[in-house]
Symmetry: C2
Subunit: 229 residues, 2 copies
Amino acid sequence: MQAHIVQSYDTELSRLDAEIRRMGELAVAQLDAAMDALQRQDRAAAERVVAGDDAVDALEHAIGHDVLQLLALRQPLARDLREVYATLRISADIERIGDLAANVAKRGIVLADGPPVPLAHGVTALANLAGELARDALDSWNARDGERAIAVRGRDVALDAAYTALFRELLTYMAEDPRRITACTHLLFVAKNLERIGDHATNIAEATWFVVNGEFPGERMKGDAILAG
Amino acid sequence: MQAHIVQSYDTELSRLDAEIRRMGELAVAQLDAAMDALQRQDRAAAERVVAGDDAVDALEHAIGHDVLQLLALRQPLARDLREVYATLRISADIERIGDLAANVAKRGIVLADGPPVPLAHGVTALANLAGELARDALDSWNARDGERAIAVRGRDVALDAAYTALFRELLTYMAEDPRRITACTHLLFVAKNLERIGDHATNIAEATWFVVNGEFPGERMKGDAILAG
């Protein structure tokens, strides 16, 4: 602990920031790799993504550790405390994005040995939207850019609409040919995972807004001031 | 804030505890009500559950607020800090249990106007298991009982196995009669939600173990000591 005490507070916050950045990049890379493995029906690549989730989990664990240590050794107040609180929440959201990417990869393993993946185009489009939202949410956090964060939140609506359309398409596909039921069911869950990634991107965006403005943005969180100032 | 300063620290921790207790009871009650509405195909009851999720979200918001205030005004250390940290994590898990219960209710709304719910017995059994795990995890937290918490974690394996069995059964059911595809797809997601509730119960159990023992239990969290002592 001694090393931490002599470190400046800013250094500790920068370290947390760097950890979040690394964790975010890793989770988004996991999503890209999972989708790539799914499309190419590459079992080995999908298995690597599943194994790679441990690294994301380890980073969340490290961040939790560092946050506890920072809270114990410093007494952050106002915006500093919001930073630390938001870091904890964001790390939990990134961890879930990593989990959801790993789950896409798991379904990629199941689909690897079957016929070509149905509706591959629609699933890819959804994944691109989800990946963009996650990247933009993380960028808005890294830049502490509240306006950019709010834009991410708005775009999640488009992802939800794309998800609903794909969901219906998959149901129709299954009804037309019951032999596709198992594959399409896995794709339904892949689609759901992608839609959930958008929700986590939205959470990250809202946490960013909270840090910048001292309160959660309206509508979803009803603008209740939390330790503003 | 003045009121808080004169309050004893123990009172503040008790308040957080009471909030978690209330939030946990509410989320589990939401799950019970969602399943009841699903089984009885009662649209109005399902809609009430969906609306009721706001109360769970509001409690998470209140807990986040109280945790920030406690961190700002006190400087909790060691076990006290772990308590506060675990409270934050547990409130996030309960919030997700509430979300998942509301999602079960949403699917209950879709299924309310159709034919009788297929495989109702299997879904009910899964919900009972998930509800038991959530209740036991919350009880182990309320009692700060590490051993009881560890038992919850072990029982999540049984829930996962029941989920996998039901998943296969639903796929077979759909293949036999494609007219059931839409209803069964919603039930697949209901089953998935119930399986996820078990994961959140496990998280709550692990957080309990962490508070009692100063480190996360092995295997899933690799026993790394976090501010033990």
